[in-house]
Symmetry: C2
Subunit: 304 residues, 2 copies
């Protein structure tokens, strides 16, 4: 492990702590303006789905891309929390019996197991809704234009043209295995879109120029792809104990992955190529880009 990798892991841990504190405040029992009541059971189910000790990779990318662009750190923290609410809602809904039917997530009962199915549906709905509340609210210290842009970009990354559409393609892939182009589209939508948003968000928060935004956007696409290939590799090479969830499942269900189609050696080469592209996209930022370079290496090489 290099020195910059070690620094990256420290930064990731402190970003996770900051986001956890922010989410804890946003998911308190206290009503906000225009809210009538926050029913206990639903609030607790939302907390179960979010305050679960994840790595908080997406929030980290928002915070670090904003820092790189000189964006307001408090605004970045709230956008990071909003994004994490969306990521976690998607896990709550994906785990439902009608979807992936998972009982465990990070070694703990999933929301529909800890509560019930109806509450899990509503907890996911409420987390998704809360994300847009957080991003749009005046407590996010940005201009109205910037808040509206972030809401719109986040919605498109999460909706039919992004993550939710990708999940629909994933369901279809259980019946008709997609070809390679189909897998690339599926993964760009299901996991890529939110990661791309996380990286682009820094430029939106800071009001950066188009060229900076385009570089971060492309960086996000590249590490999103690396993230998915690393995930598919892990699915083949690791075991249930170290991941805390069922593995070998995607292949068992007949869903193709790029690693399945092209093999493990191709995947390792592709990860190296993607890391190099990510690093090259950050070269314009000089030394300030070192942390996102380390993030790209971490995403490609992660072991869990």
């Amino acid at each position: 492990m290099t020195e910059s990798d070690r620094l990256f892991l420290d930064d990731l841990a402190s970003a996770a702590q900051a986001v956890e504190t922010c989410l804890e405040g946003l998911l308190s029992p206290v009503c906000r303006v225009d809210e009538i009541a926050r029913p206990d059971r639903l609030l607790n189910a939302m907390r179960h789905g979010v305050l679960n000790g994840g790595k908080r990779m997406r929030p980290y990318l928002v915070l670090e891309s904003a820092r790189l662009c000189g964006g307001d750190p408090q605004a970045a923290l709230r956008i990071a929390a909003a994004l994490e609410c969306i990521h976690c809602y998607s896990l709550v809904h994906d785990d439902l019996p009608a979807m992936d039917d998972d009982d465990l997530r990070r070694g703990k009962p999933t929301v529909h197991i800890a509560y019930d199915e109806a509450t899990a549906i509503l907890a996911g709905d409420s987390l998704l809704t809360l994300a847009f509340d957080i991003a749009a609210a005046p407590e996010t210290p940005l201009s109205g234009d910037a808040r509206a842009s972030l809401v719109c970009a986040l919605a498109r990354a999460a909706g039919i043209g992004g993550m939710a559409g990708g999940q629909a393609l994933d369901l279809a892939a259980e019946i008709t295995p997609p070809d390679e182009a189909g897998i690339v589209t599926l993964q760009a939508m299901k996991t890529g879109a939110l990661i791309r948003f996380a990286c682009e968000a820094g430029a939106l928060i800071a009001g950066s120029d188009q060229s900076t935004r385009a570089s971060l956007r492309r960086y996000g696409e590249v590490i999103g792809r690396a993230f998915q290939i690393a995930d598919d590799l892990l699915d083949i090479t690791s075991d249930a104990a170290s991941l805390g969830k069922a593995t070998g499942k995607d292949e068992g269900r007949g869903k193709g992955t790029l690693v399945g189609l092209r093999g493990v050696n191709w995947a390792r080469d592709e990860l190296a190529r993607l890391v190099a592209e990510a690093e090259s996209l950050l070269s314009a930022f000089g030394d300030r880009g070192e942390k996102l370079k380390a993030a790209a290496r971490f995403v490609a090489n992660r072991k869990s």
Copy 2:
């Protein structure tokens, strides 16, 4: 039926037509900026859930409250469409087997029957997400501040402190029947919050003063309450054929309603009182308030 009632029904029908056309455009197969693809089956399920010939009462209230305040009609139409996406997502999810388990909605198969349960979950999620995209996008001709305010108000009306929280209370009411105060809170959240937003939205779109906003907000609360009492009355007095959905169901499940607790005569008196209050709240607008007065009468007296 009075002349103003007839005019109201004409207006309601033409508002429904305008909103239908707007929604049709928003749910076209064409990707927007930042979208990767719009998978057919998911898009068709969303369309099934939204383009279903509803009365479009909430959109009407947005359009008419905006007209009353002098707000931009195109902005009002988009906010109306966004609100209808949220109303329709809630119907799609409420109909799921884990929730109310309904096979029919307005005489047609519900989304999880016409498609499948996973697709219905994703269609609801995607409609909810699309609503915030529509409100926040630059195509909504309002300042960034106004778009962000509308997103925030809409999210709070729809989320844990509003509609979704009300649905959670409704689930709890199947196990422990609430007292009268509990029923009032449940209904203010489950159906009241979106109706209140619809009426307040006109003032937000037009950038009206606080007093105008407060009057419309209170008007929205009053007709929201009337809407629910009328619904509970219909549930007791009408039959399945005229409503196109199962009736007598809420009582059968032991959920209390105000009409069940206080009786049909109390309900009719209360509706008259609420209509009078709604009319009085509109008096400051002079003749321009006639249409929303007719809307209050329609909501209280509707037969389906």
